[in-house]
Amino acid sequence: MRDEAVRALRRGVAVLVLAALVLAPWTVDDYTVALLARTLALGLVGVSVALLTGVAGLPTLGQTAPYAAGAYASAVLGSRLSDVAVVHLVVAAAAGAALAAATVPLVVYARGVIVLMITLAIGELVVTVVGRWRSVTGGSDGLAGVPPVRPVWGLPVLATDRARYLYALVVVAVLVGAVLLVLHTRVGLLLRAGRDDEARLRASGHRVPAHVAVVHVAAGAVAGAAGSLLVVAQQFVSPADFGFDTSALLLLGVVVGGATSVGGALVGAVIVVAGRDWLFGVLPGYAPLVLGLAFVVTVYLLPGDGHRSAGGPGRLLPGLPASPGGRERPAPTGART
């Protein structure tokens, strides 16, 4: 049937993308490989944005906050603890989760555009703090010369751009796989139910705010882990990596990727970020203009509702209950009235 054809096509595309990602470092130069590794880290942040925006229905512009927390925790704390990347990853994820947990009271009862505003303010304030806390973060100059790391105990140090890229790829693949697995269980079902009809889920005795809090912390941990990848990838970290434009770019990538789809969000974020980097390379000076126009055009080109309905085709996640359809169905993101 059509659904199965779409599913097969999606699997095929996923396999192709994965193969291209694995082979990429042998086909392009070192600089591009380094850029790609950074892009993968941003893609992982995109996954955390999709987790909140698409799956849980909390549109966010503030995932750069746990991302920054993870990156600086990895660069400052992790470097003192050990030279093993996995330790850094855990430290970074813990930092991201801690920051997300600290901001849970701010977002857990808010919905829709209010979340957008609050998260944007949180993200911007975190970047401001990072930029001014010179003694720890190096201020706006950033932290340069982060020492190279070994992936796990006993392996050699990641000395080349290719090795760092492959490390990032493995981590992203494992984390995205874990997120997809969890979303396949009852947890994913509950989150989507809370997004689509919060009142009904509450009426059946579920504590939706608790779900929201958990997913917010989990998304913070994923974004924090991505921060550690960023530090490994570019061995440098500065507040410029976590600006407001990064949040908006990720949100665009997530929306392009289908919003409710975690895999689509990864691909969308990678495409949008790579497009941005390419634009800045070929059109220095005019890149923001072209990028802004791209935002406007994308918004106009997006299909009908801005998003596909949650149960329809277009997700990379098979196996969910079919959409009941109907016009009164709330939008997958934001609207929880």
Binding site: P105, M117, L125, V299, G306
Partner: protein, 294 residues
């Protein structure tokens, strides 16, 4: 500026804070209107302020007439830009908040790069009218005359805004649209026109703030982001949609940014964050129920 430390050394920062707070209020008032009426997070709001700021830098030559001219041109230009944003938003009005935010962010990027292309990548200097360029004595302190006048003008603007929202028919329609947009539409008022009017008015306020505030928060490539962030913080702190709350929040932020820095320089970077976190944590439930996603 020369500070006479014999008397209270914190008077000047406190006054600066009032000027700063009123400026942020006038800039943020437009954002409150957009958000409250149309449920739009206008990420291009800071760019509207920057339009006013660049106009001031380009037109001010030290005379009174140039100030009036800059005020008129800056306000009209920012109003037009606000109306343009509204026009572009009308086509995606039925979509989610997300698409609207993305659209306005794209417009902010485009507007910002056009402004940089037109006025250059540096922060242009701003010349205030010669008569206001000096300083006056306030309780034994020397204080910039322009800022004192600005405090008065901004307070008048805030008062006018209050009267417009509370007492005029347009203001009543706007408040009605905040409470129940569908009912207003049923009564025969096209919500698209209200949205257009509100975004244009928001542009006018931001443009006027940009021209008058150029000597305080000057134009430059980073201005749009800085003003957007400040406005956003103020709007969130003020209770998302309340004008009075926004004014209080703006004055508090002004004091945090000036008096707070003077009192506790080492903690200064975190004060704004801490204040926001504290207020939000206390009021989280109230904020969410005040206006559930409309």
């Amino acid at each position: 500026m020369a500070v006479d430390t014999r008397i209270d050394p914190y008077l000047v920062p406190a006054l600066d804070g009032v000027a700063y707070g009123l400026l942020v209020f006038v800039a943020a008032a437009g954002l409150v209107l957009c958000f409250g009426v149309a449920g739009i997070l206008n990420l291009a709001h800071g760019t509207l302020y920057a339009i006013g700021g660049y106009t001031a830098a380009a037109l001010l030559d030290g005379g009174w007439s140039s100030l009036l001219l800059a005020l008129a041109v800056g306000t009209v230009a920012a109003t037009a830009a606000g109306a343009l944003v509204a026009g572009l938003l009308t086509r995606v009005a039925a979509r989610s908040h997300l698409t609207q935010a993305l659209l306005t962010f794209g417009l902010a990027l485009v507007g910002g790069s056009l402004l940089v292309a037109a006025f250059g990548p540096d922060d242009p200097p701003v010349r205030v009218p010669a008569a206001l360029d000096g300083s006056v004595a306030v309780a034994g302190h020397r204080y910039a005359a322009y800022r004192l006048v600005f405090i008065v003008v901004a307070a008048v603007l805030a008062g006018l805004l209050h009267v417009a929202v509370r007492r005029t028919r347009a203001g009543m329609l706007v408040r009605a649209a905040v409470d129940d947009a569908e009912m207003v539409a049923v009564l025969g008022v096209n919500p698209a026109w209200i949205r257009l009017g509100v975004l244009a008015a928001a542009g006018a306020l931001a443009g006027a703030a940009g021209v008058l505030g150029a000597p305080i928060i000057g134009p430059g490539p980073d201005t749009a982001d800085a003003v957007l962030l400040l406005s956003l913080v103020v709007v969130v702190l003020g209770g998302l949609g309340s004008m009075g709350g926004t004014l209080l929040a703006a004055l508090a932020v002004g004091q945090i940014q000036t008096l707070g820095v003077a009192l506790a320089p080492s903690a200064a970077p975190f004060l704004l964050f801490a204040a926001m976190a504290a207020v939000l944590a206390v009021r989280a439930r109230g904020l969410a129920t005040a206006r559930r996603a409309s």
